[in-house]
Point group: C2
Chain length 809, copies 2
């Protein structure tokens, strides 16, 4: 993509200005500074160097609305950063206009009321759409996942669960006997036992997986390249004020919705939770077009997108509060309190829409419902913290390995064959996954099973305990029991599954299919947690006389819940990869609905974050933002170096001086020359080159459009026409060409800082106010400019990274 540098660092592109800095400044000195209302100038607008104090409160205005009649003025180009201050000002202007009109007529009053409520309506619609799409994706991916193993005869549109639910033969003793559901070998060969049917099933499993993934990657490649990946890094960047046209468009929405189901069903080690956030944001962006307020304003639209992200998490996990906190903590940049409240509304509507669709068939809101409420002991914090350390280590390792692999994909031939890559990874995944029953089932089913606590009648291998000495009348409490053969088999299979998942996810995340990271990392953590849970349980059973178990874990007590360990492990790994904190704990808390397990979850999440942060500061999303060179100014990291604005600003030492425009001495031709000679996206306007006293700032895009439009529509505008940015236009001799007044397109309140301002404060200002650029002065003289890109490059440089990795403005 093209580098539309504001002030490119390459010296040759810097326009060498006339060297008039050494001229003695006489002209300005003769104009004195005057605060006086007697003897006013003839023209009240004569404000070139006089401060006008006409005393009547409101005068002048922020000149943004004025030039909006020229199409294109005030909009942004693709892959550019928005100016938050300007966008918010425009919205306030719009709001003021509606308010002032509302007093005029009933119709305008109604318009004003509907405008005020349009935000809520939009949230309602986003909630409904996000919930419905999530339901659709859930149902389709369930069906397709089951299709890999078999089909429901007569009613092919049913999933295995639905198919067997309807069957009468399913009894408590015989939960898997379901005549209507046929595996492919049963259907094709009429036999299910033996090696040959197994191979048939195996091959069909692989073929279906390849078919689904091929379809997904072809759809993504040909129709919506932005539909790949999880989308969270890009959404974070977009919310911080970047423009990527089409990233949240209708094609991305349609293709991502379809391919997400396909990708999940193909058995690849990926989840649908991250992409669901992208889908919800697409809904939000598209629905914004229904309301002028949001369609026209990039800042307002980003508020809506923040809320949509919350709705996305809400439907992904059935956790509305967790979703809002995720949006606040992880993805949002500008999050006023009003947005918090609206996000909460959108998240709730989405969650309840999904519940009424009921894709899991259990009327439950949450993805992994946990039923146990067994208390835990303080000493169990030791294994929980160990799980946290594992999660942190895994997270840090995963991020490094994944980024290394993605870099390799970018720089080698590999990146040219995305379809082949997807097919290869799918084939490897399917081949390795089928033989192990814990990898054959979908990751979310696996997590569900690992989170589950064993009841007495549970027939799964993981619950194959020796029940000989269990006193079933013991008040419903099932004590810790010795593991039987099934559990040991499960331990082996889970260990293999752990290695498989941990490795394959590195190669899967970042391919050209929609792929989320939540479920794979939770699966890795849940397996590790369950393994540790069973180990601790067996240790406590066989060695309940050890000192550490004494007093709380006597024989016959139910002291260890392996399912809880799986939950804690899942939280730890997810935290290690994404560095979520509060939102992670709240999402996990909403799964159980009780405060009991908050402390274990928090201990694991905290440890995991500390360990992972010690090994590398970036979360997987930040690492991908960095990898792609997006201009994202991290709000969480403090800039800690002792540099000053003068070390960062352009022009640098040795560079030619800054290209500036003067307020009343340049012609159309001069300015066009300045535009053509440079690539800067804006120019400061000064009183005179000699004084370097700053008047305002004008954007290149606005300047080009305005001059072009004036040349076309306004009489007598030629190259020799003078351009006035000043308020006062001196009378022209009749022979000279008509002059062009462009004060309206000038930003009269550009942000300025002194060259001695510490960069930590500059970074803070850029972050908090959402600036695109800031002018630097020294003792009242304009000295240079700092753009967001300069700031990002400086941060990268200070962190010993390549500053040229920042690609966009």
């Amino acid at each position: 993509m093209e580098n539309k540098g504001f002030h490119r660092s390459s010296l040759n592109s810097l326009h060498s200005s006339t060297s008039d800095e050494d001229m003695v400044e006489i002209t300005e000195g003769t104009l004195d500074f005057k605060i006086s209302d007697d003897d006013p100038p003839i023209d009240a607008e004569n404000d070139t160097e006089f401060a006008t104090y006409n005393g009547n409160g409101i005068h002048g205005s922020y000149n943004v609305m004025d030039f909006l009649d020229v199409p294109g003025v005030g909009t942004y180009e693709d892959f550019n950063t928005i100016d938050w201050v300007r966008e918010k000002s425009r919205d306030r202007d719009r709001h003021r206009e509606i308010l002032s009109k509302s007093k005029e007529s009933t119709w305008a009053l109604l318009h004003s009321v509907s405008d005020a409520f349009s935000g809520w309506l939009l949230m309602l619609l986003i909630g409904l759409f996000a919930g419905s799409l999530a339901g659709l994706i859930d149902i389709s991916s369930h069906w397709m996942t089951d299709l890999k193993e078999g089909i429901c005869v007569d009613e092919f549109w049913l999933t295995q669960e639905q198919c067997c639910w309807k069957s009468e033969n399913v009894t408590f003793e015989n939960p898997n006997d379901c005549p209507k559901w046929r595996s492919w070998s049963q259907l094709l060969l009429n036999q299910s036992e033996g090696a040959f049917p197994y191979i048939v099933n195996y091959i069909l499993y692989i073929l279906w997986a390849l078919f689904f993934s091929l379809l997904a990657v072809l759809l993504v490649r040909n129709f919506a390249p932005y539909a790949c990946g999880s989308g969270i890094p890009e959404i974070k960047t977009i919310l911080s004020g970047f423009i990527i046209r089409g990233y949240l468009g209708k094609w991305t929405l349609i293709i991502k919705t379809i391919t997400l189901g396909l990708a999940v069903s193909s058995g690849l080690s990926l989840g649908k939770e991250g992409p669901l956030i992208h889908v919800a944001c697409c809904c939000g962006n598209i629905l914004c077009h229904l309301f002028t307020k949001y369609r026209r304003n990039e800042a307002k639209r980003r508020e809506v997108l923040s809320a949509a992200a919350a709705a996305g998490v809400s439907v992904a996990f059935g956790a509305p509060i967790g979703g809002v906190l995720f949006s606040l903590e992880e993805v949002s940049y500008y999050f006023p309190m009003k947005t918090l409240w609206r996000s909460f509304f959108a998240a709730l509507v989405a969650a309840f829409t999904l519940r009424s669709i009921n894709p899991f068939g259990n009327s439950r809101l949450v993805l992994f419902y946990v039923e146990f409420h067994t208390p835990w002991h303080l000493l169990e914090l030791i294994p929980f913290i160990l799980l946290g350390i594992f999660g942190g280590l895994w997270g840090a390792f995963f991020i490094r390995a994944n980024i290394a692999w993605c870099k390799r994909r970018k720089t080698t031939k590999l990146g040219r064959y995305p379809v082949l890559e997807v097919l290869a990874v799918t084939a490897i995944t399917a081949v390795l996954a089928f033989p192990n029953e814990y990898t054959r089932i979908s990751s979310s089913e696996l997590i569900s099973e690992l989170f589950n606590d064993c009841s007495l009648l549970d027939s799964s291998k993981l619950c194959d305990y020796k029940n000989d000495d269990v006193n079933t009348t013991n008040g419903g409490i099932l004590p810790d029991r010795p593991a039987s053969k099934g559990v040991y088999t499960a331990l082996w299979q889970l260990s293999l599954a752990l290695i498989f998942k941990a490795v394959i996810t590195i190669f899967t995340f970042g391919m050209k299919v929609p792929s989320g990271l939540f479920i794979p990392s939770m699966a890795v953590g849940a397996i590790m947690g369950r393994l540790m849970g069973i180990s601790v349980e067996q240790l406590a059973y066989y060695h309940h006389d050890w000192a550490i178990f004494k007093g709380w874990c006597s024989q016959g007590a139910d002291c260890i819940t392996p399912g809880l360990y799986a939950m804690v492990g899942a939280a730890a790994c997810l935290g290690g990869a994404t560095r979520m904190t509060v939102s992670l704990v709240v999402i996990m808390f909403e799964l159980t609905g009780g405060l009991e397990y908050i402390v274990p979850l928090m201990a694991a999440a905290m440890t995991s974050k500390w360990v992972a942060d010690a090994l590398g500061r970036e979360s997987i999303y930040d690492a991908h933002i960095h990898l792609n060179g997006y201009p994202f100014l991290e709000a969480k990291e403090e800039f800690s170096h002792k540099t000053l604005a003068m070390d960062v600003m352009r022009p640098r030492h040795n560079d030619p001086s800054l290209t500036v425009l003067t307020q009343d001495s340049m012609t159309v031709g001069d300015i066009e020359a300045a535009i053509n000679e440079t690539t800067y996206s804006g120019f400061p306007i000064v009183v005179s080159r000699e004084s370097q006293r700053l008047v305002g700032f004008v954007l290149r895009r606005d300047l080009i459009i305005s001059i072009e439009s004036a040349r076309k529509k306004q009489d007598g505008i030629v190259s020799a026409s003078r351009i006035y940015f000043s308020e006062y236009t001196p009378p022209q001799p009749p022979t000279s060409p008509a002059s062009l007044k462009l004060r309206t397109i000038m930003d009269l309140s550009p942000f300025t800082i002194t060259d001695q301002t510490p960069m930590e404060i500059v970074v803070d200002i850029f972050r908090k106010l959402g600036l695109r650029q800031c002018l630097v002065t020294h003792n009242g003289r304009l000295l240079g400019i700092i753009t967001k890109k300069d700031v990002l490059k400086h941060i990268a440089q200070m962190a010993n990274q390549d500053p040229d990795s920042i690609l966009f403005n």
Copy 2:
């Protein structure tokens, strides 16, 4: 309190500067602007008008740490606003120093690690202390509340519940028969039935109430005047950067802890939830003194206070997540993500500390535990929204009435007799409360009872339904039943209680005792909600054939839960008074632990906020902030007027020009004169009065302290000594007195804006960066200054309020 105005609006206090503005500016023009590294000045520091580009990356520094050796420099006076930017810079400097030292020795490394973890340790301590104090207050107030009615013989330290819990005579049929608990009439007269014992109990109830409240008000008045009220308005103001010394001190903590229990026990219509936040913040503030990092830095300390506020709410309601959101939404000003995570930790520790103290004797975390999970019907949203409207109306009415009363207290003789006022209100409350059993019990017990759903065996009046046709084998579902006599009596008593509580709270909130508003407003709402719940229930029972009930509320169904209505009503009234949104819903959600009732709660909270906002924008806390004239810049309200910085800045039109100091032409005597002639808390420093080119900004306090210290310690500093703020000090003739270099105390990066900057942007900058003042320029010349107070006054003026109501800086 003294008005230390930055730029007082009263003209006479404005220092009339020399009228040298009309002088022709020649001097500056002769010094030309030069960006060149060949031919450098002899002294590299000769930077008066040259931009030094010596190219070696880091040079110069933010000069804050440098002058910290003079005691007092860099600190604030009482009732002043802190400079967030400066405080944060100081913290970063400190952090950098520790980091750079940590590489030198193992000891320094350990220091650096302990410094990094001190925040977490502090959070742990805050959680422990806040939880313990909350437990202490709970236990003592329970005991004293019961003391008003009677005493446990032999074991006087037990509350009624504990006393009767131990008695064997309590059976299911006879829950109130408890021989060890004696009412005062039983103890003194040995009889409990009849008019005389009733009067004895009545009188002792009043006397105890008067005794408790007298003790509370005397303690508050004599030892800690800041311990009165809820404290939330002041905490909001302090968190926004204001300094009120002693407000969070140890005396306030001790007295507030003691008097809170007394005030609650006196039966006044007040709660302990708001004051608990104040208590937790006191703990936070005091514990900050253990760690240099937090003791010395006002900004860091405010991060801790935000977390402490979360811990306070967490123990008040047993809602850790709600507490964090309350702190985020309602009280905090600067809330980085790091604080969110730490707040959550502190809130959890506090909640679990409280639970292990177990003051309610039920091992429950939450104040009002709700056990029912009956589903609600969509049509019930109508009464829920009606409750929301009631809550909004009540909130708006309460705020107006309470503020009017508080104003009257401030302006009339009433304010001079706080003890009498408290005694009078207590007497009236006690006299009116005793006869009605719903007002005699404490408000929190009342709310508990109103939230409760009637089981079949419930013997309270509110559950006195006709049970004739109840089929008890109906799967545990208790259908709607016709109300019996008890319910109708309860309805009357509740109606009277509603009026009583609604009126008396207006006069109670704001008296010189600790008083929270959460419980009284929840009580009003809960009563209204229960009344409406019973009405709808009876309506549905008797008219289940009406169209609106058809299909979901047939006879024998359990369709209306009056307890849910009480919950919704409580949320609505609390929302109307405090304008909480997300935190309100999350706190109420944490009471029930289920997502079922989020939608009703949200509908009521939304309606309540809209209705109340339509009648008055300010919450009760904001109204009190306003009433007290605190300089609080509301972060939620957008400034919507079209004024510019030039309309707000000082000096105004007609005023003498701004007092500025020059960087190298003033003597100690000149500057002392300028200090004495003005009351401004800071002075801009310019190159020369003629050019008005800004160099920096110096604070009055720092200037006075530095000059005083120099006169004492430095040889040869007399009134004729020149003061240099410039980097370059020209060589002095040997006869002239020693010069004084004060560049280090100057802020080299003062914030500047242009005079054309819209005020909406200025307000945004002040809010987001936490500024104290901002300098205004026009075309590169210094023109004026805007302080936080100016901004607040302007906002008040634009809202048609008295700008002189803003008292402090």
